[in-house]
């Protein structure tokens, strides 16, 4: 794989990444913060984000693939419990989550 090939791949990736962003910025001109379209787009965005999180926890790619699915799910479930017990303290709960995951996994 030549160096110029990698640079082309990076530039094409940048275009493929910026395209949905700029199209989104252009389309947003027709969206009102209090309108129904805004709520519709919120539903879609949260749906895609939840699907992405679910996929990372259940079918991850990369280094997380080497860890047990059960460990990831237990850590996730107890992190959510911790989040509610700490009145939605995201910082504490996130740290709790990775420490717990480390303990379960190793």
């Amino acid at each position: 794989m030549s160096s110029s090939y990698i640079y082309f791949a990076i530039i094409l990736s940048a275009i493929a990444t910026y395209l949905p962003r700029i199209l989104g910025a252009m389309s947003s001109a027709y969206v009102d913060e209090n309108g129904k379209i805004f709520k519709f787009v919120s539903c879609i965005s949260y749906g895609i984000l939840a699907a992405l999180i679910s996929r990372i926890f259940i079918y991850p790619v990369g280094a997380l693939e080497e860890t047990a699915t059960l460990s990831r799910l237990i850590a996730a479930a107890l992190t959510i419990a911790c989040l509610f017990m700490t009145r939605k303290n995201v910082l504490f709960s996130s740290l709790f989550g990775i420490i717990l995951f480390g303990i379960i996994e190793y």
Binding site: P20, S27, S28, L64
Partner: protein, 233 residues
Amino acid sequence: MKNTFNKSFRQGCFEGAGIPGISLCASFFALGAVFKNTGLDAYQSFLSTLIAFALPGQVVMAETLIVQGALLNVFLAVLLTNARLYPMTVNLIPVVRQEGRPKWHYYVLSHFIAVTSWVHFLANYEKIKKEDRFNFFLGFSSTLWFLSVIATVIGFYIAGIISKKIFIALIFLNPIYFLCMVVSNLRTKHIIFTVIFSFILSPILFLLSPQWSVVIAGLVAGIVSYLIFIHFK
């Protein structure tokens, strides 16, 4: 423009350097290591996060390069992976919109919209005055971008030095943080239903179509939730 880099911008920078920045840095640190294993050099790793700032798309690019994929494959795979940025941007820009601000400012701002900045900002924007939101988000998200670029390069250089167990725990921080942010932001019925439905649907669809599962699950859950809780209400 001269009023953009004001107190709200600095507050955004400060907030970005906190837990959202730490969480994102952990993932980009890991990405630097992935790039090194893929065969990219430090400049290429730096450039990738600088101009194509969206972690899942960058991972897909690296994976496609590993299997010697054609450039068209790289483009389409990254486009599909990053399709989620379209509704996120449509959703975020109306919240930060300011009267009189030129359109190109929003086009520049859109480069910094990614999952971490989106989820964190939408969970907290109501506390920020409407006229301060653009500057705050610009400071917040550009700080995340800047830290991610640095973390990618550091990850590239020190890949292999730190223990693999710590490395994996660091990677886990970002999804855990996303999870906490999404759960802490569940306030309305339509969003609660969307998130739970999509969370269940996504792994089922993954078995049928790994590449499309995230987009389809998000669309189906979002549309069903909208119809039930808003349209036919």
